[in-house]
Subunit: 217 residues, 2 copies
Amino acid sequence: MGRLILDISMSLDGFVAGPNPTSKDPLGEGGTQLHEWAFATRAWRESHGLEGGEDNVDSKLVEDLLANVGATVMGRRMYSGNEGPWADDANADGWWGDEPPFHHPVFVLTHHERQPVRMQGGTSFTFVTDGIEAALEQAQRAAGEQDVRVAGGANAAQQYLRAGLLDELQLHVAPVLLGDGVRLFEGGLLEPPAQLECTAVARSPTGVAHLIYRARG
Amino acid sequence: MGRLILDISMSLDGFVAGPNPTSKDPLGEGGTQLHEWAFATRAWRESHGLEGGEDNVDSKLVEDLLANVGATVMGRRMYSGNEGPWADDANADGWWGDEPPFHHPVFVLTHHERQPVRMQGGTSFTFVTDGIEAALEQAQRAAGEQDVRVAGGANAAQQYLRAGLLDELQLHVAPVLLGDGVRLFEGGLLEPPAQLECTAVARSPTGVAHLIYRARG
């Protein structure tokens, strides 16, 4: 069975989204800056069907991560920007287009049941209503020997972190202060606290500090 | 004129002291863990008149920092653990012993006037009551061509950070989650926001991630 990996971009002051996130601007004010390092890489662009991009340490990280991921778990807001019943969701088909960049099974955490959706290019969306452990189980079954990635957003990331279910945490620290927003580390300690081991650090040409931790529940 | 450097140890979840700091335990619950990497180094031990210690990337960082620092600024709590009038402070001579580990002029931010104190080994304590900029000015005059270091605590560090006066920020991120405590990055954004440039990262054998930023107010 593969590992459960959270890889997430964070400002130096600890925010994974800026203030006032909305369904149209889920990264909040200034939040896009956190992800610019990834958008610029060849590996990210390739996974989105785009040409070009930088071929550097950032791209290598994205490439290594994507190569080993067999399934993704994400929160409902990351899927469609909304959280209510599907009938009220103008964006119910997600904002990932006809050929989403995942190319493997994606499990969406939601409170509202719905039949799975099969997209072009190997991506499917399965809607899981019975919690993060059930979603992880399904994702691990789908991924086989490959890893499962928690793609976000902040709330899903926090839930897996707090439950002590992560095997690896990849923090991409952008050289930016947002001052306010959604913190990754918020709301108290895990019980028992996760044991973290820093296994690698790297600095990218764009000034992002990549910190890799092995977590042992 | 030298640079103004803040070097501070922080937990991965952003805390520079644990919860419930007291005058006897100013690092708060669990806060000592943040500093263990430094305590173990040869360079730190040497500056405290102790033998032995590890000679590794951690020690090199401490050594380089100390070699270039000609004056230190610190908050009153870091000096004596208290904040009231000196007459009420049982610890008014500080808790740094007869021969403090600084070996240069130290400027203490306080609301209560007091004559300077000269200690053994080259350390003096000067008490500055007219704010962080006045303390910085005095420290820079004392340091000459050498750097000035903001030694802490969190409050003094935040004031210099928020005022945009830092030239360099050295963050030592310990592989620890404290869950609660005193955050370095708290209380909103600088105005205008500091421009940060990540100039170096390093991982120590103890799992600490050292992140060095150049700040351009």
